[in-house]
Amino acid sequence: MADLVNVTINGSQIQAEKGRMLIDVAEEMGIFVPRFCYHPGMKSVAVCRMCLVQIEGQRKLLPACATPVDDGMNVNTSDEQAVDAQQGMLEFLLINHPLDCPICDRGGECPLQDQTYRHGPGASRYVEPKRTYEKALEISDLVVLDRERCVLCWRCVRFCDEISGDRFIQLVDRGPGTQILTFSDEPFNSYFSGNTIQICPVGALTSLPYRFASRPWDLQTAPSVCAYCSVGCPITNESRSGQLVRCQALPNENVNDFWICDKGRFGYHYVSSEERLETPLVRKGDEFAPASWGEALQLAAEKLGGKERVGVIAGGHLTTEDAFGVSRLARSVIGTPHLDSRVQDAGAPYELFRSAGGVAGSTATLNDLEEAKTIWWVGPDPKESLPVLFLRLRKAVLDRGAHLTVVSPRRISLDEFADTVIRTSEADDGSVAGQIAEKSKGELEDPVVVCWGPAHPGRDERATVTAVVELARAHDSKVLVCPPHAGSQGLLDMGVHPLMEPGYADAALGGRDTRAILEGAAKGEIDTLLLLGVDPIADFPDAGLAQRALESKAFSIVVELFPTETALRADVVMPSAAYAERDGTFTNLERRLQKLERLMTPVGAARDPWKICTALAQAMGQEWKWHDLEDVWEDIRKTVPTHAGIRLEALKQQAPAPAPFYEPALSAQHGRAEGAMGGPGGQYPKGHRGGAPFQTGQNWPLSWELRAFEAKQRPGLIPAPGGLSATPAGGPDAPSRASEAAQPAAGTPPAEASSASTRPSGPPIDRDHSFVLYSGRLIYDEGAMVRRTAALRGIQAKPFVEMNEYDVKRLEVADGDEVVVSGNGVEARLRVVVADIGAGAVFVPYDQEGLRANRLMAGIDPVVEVKPG
């Protein structure tokens, strides 16, 4: 614990940790010091000079953002001198600000606007012409820059430098001509560019997709959780006239700090896509006919009576409640052990982690990364598939000094700041597990966090995971297990898994995994497939098998958002509600439960998957009465030991009455009578809006600066451990449960394991042209959601194949040439990218426009042939 010092601010005394910045300490006391450049997620630069305060004994006013508190410090943030400086600084900032607020997206939630109303002079004395620049430069497909509005706070520059490391935005020129700009031939191609929009204290950086879409006060807002990857960034969804128009990051320093990736921020259009399924569909010959829910459920219920001849597969975007519903429906109602939720990550042996910490998932939290001295990363490229985790890892290494070891067959984003890179490739017989064991011998500086995520669809990672678990056990370290999707961990927790029941207990009866279910359907051993939020033809690393399964005689029931390839081959299709239309929880990769709040009503007749499960059970004659989320949770608490005692209420956000918009004392100092303020400020709520900053409902137009401040005045609104979010018992907070947990299932093959555990038989492989195929998702791919998001359509990479430079020479091709990559009877012409990848291996992105790599895969550990084009 750091030293505590006594500080007096505006006459009130407080004890604060020595060395903390005055601006933070004041804010905690409920005193808001105006600011533009200061941002709690970044280092202070003290350039805007807005937060100057009076400190007793100091000749000059000092910036509160860069002045650490010290014992006996006596501070005044609102005396005559400080107020004069605040007014003077705002007058300076406004002389060249265009005041085009009526057409500025920021208007109504602008820190410059808000702070001018609170702290600024009433009028400007500036009569000269203003500085002008060319307006509205599109510096990327997502971000628009208006230099005239810029107040040069450097937040965007610092974000790109400190946080993301994508140094695309720079300061150019000097003096009054200083401007923020990208380099002329380089667009702002950062996966995190949208954060600069959100932290911009004016409307200098705006969002191209949201541009002119709404005024802030016309928005409906709901806090939610990003539905893409398993980091589970808290976000706000905002809609206007029933259309989802904006997503922004909700700060939570435990999870995402202040950031989200551009996929999470801009990838929301799919919710309002015209392709959304709105009504149940029943196959009539080659056609689908719209059906009532009753009709569809009745038909499905009849086909689900086949006990273990039914296979159930659930997708990674289902909520925890959906997962529980699916698990219960399959095991207790249908009576089948054949259920799985691993599709892209089919076969990923999460269950093995039970021997490391008692849970099939993480024992480490994201915060543990920042305490760690040693981090091992064995997994996919986090910048592509878990972007905000990349930011947390980058911070852990560059800011907190952790030593990072990266294990990967190809160069990934983390290599740049890794101490050690272990380049694995199965092609030259280097066993990944062996290399991990070899390189992790000896002392590692404590604390150690070992991270693992399924990296390469189709590859058997059992040996790798065993080595990772061994490594964690040997060094008594925590593990961070990173399943791919927002709902993946919740599905594991709720036992949507052939080997584990809810709470990670060994399943009484081992079931088929995804591959075995699909094989069963293809071979006629499974009669009915129930697929919820999953598209195996697009996602399963053997598209041919998935297609055979769906085109077999098996009756298939698909719950989906869109008419996917799989849905189009189904017999009954039921429309699902999308995340912004739902209440519920996601469990993120650190096993933190976070609450989604419904913003919009589901399109058409779409329903929550857990409600569909309930209705199916009822149609099958079961007494199953779940009406609302609390009903589901009552059962979860009863049946899932790890989740006993979790109160849904504790995950929910409070909504106390809003505080007065401005402090009366300060207004009086400014010579204004309470309520006498004109202009947009006068429309600001003084209670009639009835909304707290992050509450569901009508948006409360206020800048993020003041939102965060106001929110802190209301306990429970800013997510905190035990507040909005909670980690289930048995998780990081109770690692002692490990010993009591079920014995590891390591080495025990599934009772009815897939038979395709070897490479497919077929024509003999041409050794000279045969390559081990690694694949993995890129951030902007052809996934069902991203594909239907207009904003991200233009920026996806075209498919390519990464090859080692020696292999390229051997094949007598060059970087940029086209080669023919073939596997599983499918040929693709792909551009060669010479890359740092193991010899004898190639990398093909999993799902880019023009090629789904799962079509090249057959069986486990696929190989492909590569020949000059």
Partner: protein, 471 residues
């Protein structure tokens, strides 16, 4: 040109060799004949670093770059046991009206190198950097040549002067930004970044160049060291006042007969300095004096002693020692405009008050100068100055505000006359010859008025002349 009446004499310490041997003071042979490097040799061979620091502390030598911070005290801030450390020479002399470091380094580069060696020894730094103003073509060529000669003599490199102390000097030419004379901006520039001041703390003594302890000293300060170390603290303190001991080189320019660099004991009266400069140009009556570089508030009388304390008491400052005398042909609105324009142009743009305040003040001053002033503009200008002063990130903003405020305050009537008349009362050609801007534009005293009395060589070879010998 009127003859000097010789009633007032200079005292040469830093300029001794330059003035004694004007033909070849910068050459190695002359320096060696003149006991050059003897001081450094004695110190590095026979004095402990601590004793060296103590002697400089005892002498009371204060930094000659502008702030006047005691040099020995500055050295003692270097934390023990943290290596490597660096010595950085601030030779980015950019303060308008100042041209002393230019002459000191052009005329006696070896004295500077010797001073650097002493400072490096005192601070136990094995690397020194000279951040040389980009426009100093002749000076940088001579420094470059002198550094090469010093290496050949074993005065630099490994085991200098036969000791086991290593010292390398790296000469770096700036790219013409005034802000890079601010020590932390200088460090950023030297590291290859945008030249902008750094947030303090940490101070350069703790975390300076490349994050290591760094001592930054002015050229004149370091050039004082060889004589100081040879002769001792008491010898040095025979000149100057108790708190401002020693001599100081003043760059004197403006509407006077003999602009140039004059070295006098601190505490000498401004009137004497004007006399050294040959008095006011014929026909001119003294109107205003900038006593310490463009940032220093104006004086209207020569009745003041030229030392740190006396000038502070007079409401202005010694600064870099640039003294500009202006006669009654000078338009003070124009003077304020040119000065403020300089600061606006040289503002780095980092902080709001300096960036926006100077922009605004220039706009208002332009209006007044062009006859479109309003009655409220003078108060507005003072408000703008108040809005910058004490609130900017670094002293550049403060400097801009002091100059602006002092022009408006001292010559308010003249400003008001511009407004009332709706025109500038001065002849256009007169307005072109304002002293304050000359130094800033790199013209030195040579650019205006009569030829300088001594010291300033007009570099005929141009900035990038290939003749590296400096002869």
């Amino acid at each position: 040109m009127p003859e000097s009446n010789n009633l007032v004499a200079e005292t040469h310490v830093v300029l001794r060799r330059a003035r004694t041997f004007p033909e070849d003071s910068w050459t190695l042979s002359r320096v060696l004949d003149d006991k050059g490097y003897e001081s450094a040799k004695t110190v590095i061979g026979g004095m402990s670093p601590e004793a060296t620091v103590d002697l400089v502390k005892e002498s009371g030598l204060r930094g000659r770059g502008g702030a006047g911070f005691p040099t020995g005290v500055k050295w003692s801030f270097i934390p023990k046991d943290v290596f490597p450390r660096y010595v950085v020479v601030n030779h980015d002399e950019g303060e308008p009206g100042t041209f002393k470091d230019r002459e000191i380094a052009e005329r006696d580069p070896h004295q500077l190198i010797e001073g650097i060696a002493i400072a490096a020894w005192a601070c136990q730094a094995n690397k020194a950097f000279i951040y040389c103003r980009g426009e100093f073509a002749l000076g940088s060529r001579r420094l470059d040549a002198a550094i090469g000669e010093a290496y050949e003599q074993g005065f630099l490199g490994r085991g200098i002067f036969g000791s086991d102390f290593d010292l390398d000097i790296i000469l770096h030419r700036g790219a013409g930004a005034y802000i890079c004379g601010e020590e932390s901006a200088l460090l950023d520039s030297l590291e290859g970044y945008r030249g902008q001041p750094r947030l303090r703390p940490p101070f350069p003594a703790i975390k300076g160049l490349y994050g290591q302890p760094t001592v930054i000293n002015n050229t004149e300060t370091l050039s004082t060291l060889p004589a100081l170390l040879s002769n001792g603290a008491d010898w040095f303190k025979q000149w100057g006042t108790e708190k401002s001991p020693g001599t100081k080189v003043f760059s004197v320019s403006g509407h006077i007969n003999r602009p140039g660099n004059y070295e006098i004991p601190l505490g000498t009266s401004l009137a004497d300095l004007l006399e050294l400069g040959g008095g006011m140009r014929s026909g001119g009556e003294l109107k205003a004096i900038i006593p310490g570089g463009a940032s220093a508030p104006l004086l209207t009388s020569t009745d003041v002693a030229m030392d740190f304390e006396a000038l502070k008491d007079a409401g202005t400052m010694l600064g870099s020692g640039a003294v500009v005398f202006m006669d009654d042909s000078t338009c003070m609105v124009r003077n304020a405009l040119v000065t403020t324009e300089f600061f606006e142009h040289e503002s780095c743009g980092k902080c709001t008050p300096c960036r926006e305040g100077t922009w605004w003040a220039v706009k208002v001053l332009e209006r007044i100068e062009h006859g479109q002033g309003r009655a409220e503009d003078m108060d507005l200008l003072l408000d703008i100055a108040d809005g910058i002063d004490g609130r900017s990130f670094c002293p550049l903003g403060d400097a801009a505000s002091w100059a602006l405020r002092s022009n408006v305050k001292v010559f308010r009537e003249e400003f008001e006359q511009h407004v009332v008349d709706g025109r500038c009362p001065f002849e256009p050609e007169e307005r072109n010859l304002v002293g304050a801007m000359s130094g800033g534009l790199g013209l030195g005293a040579a650019g205006i008025g009569p030829q300088p009395s001594a010291g300033i060589e007009v570099d005929r070879e141009g900035r990038d002349g290939s003749n590296g010998s400096g002869n």
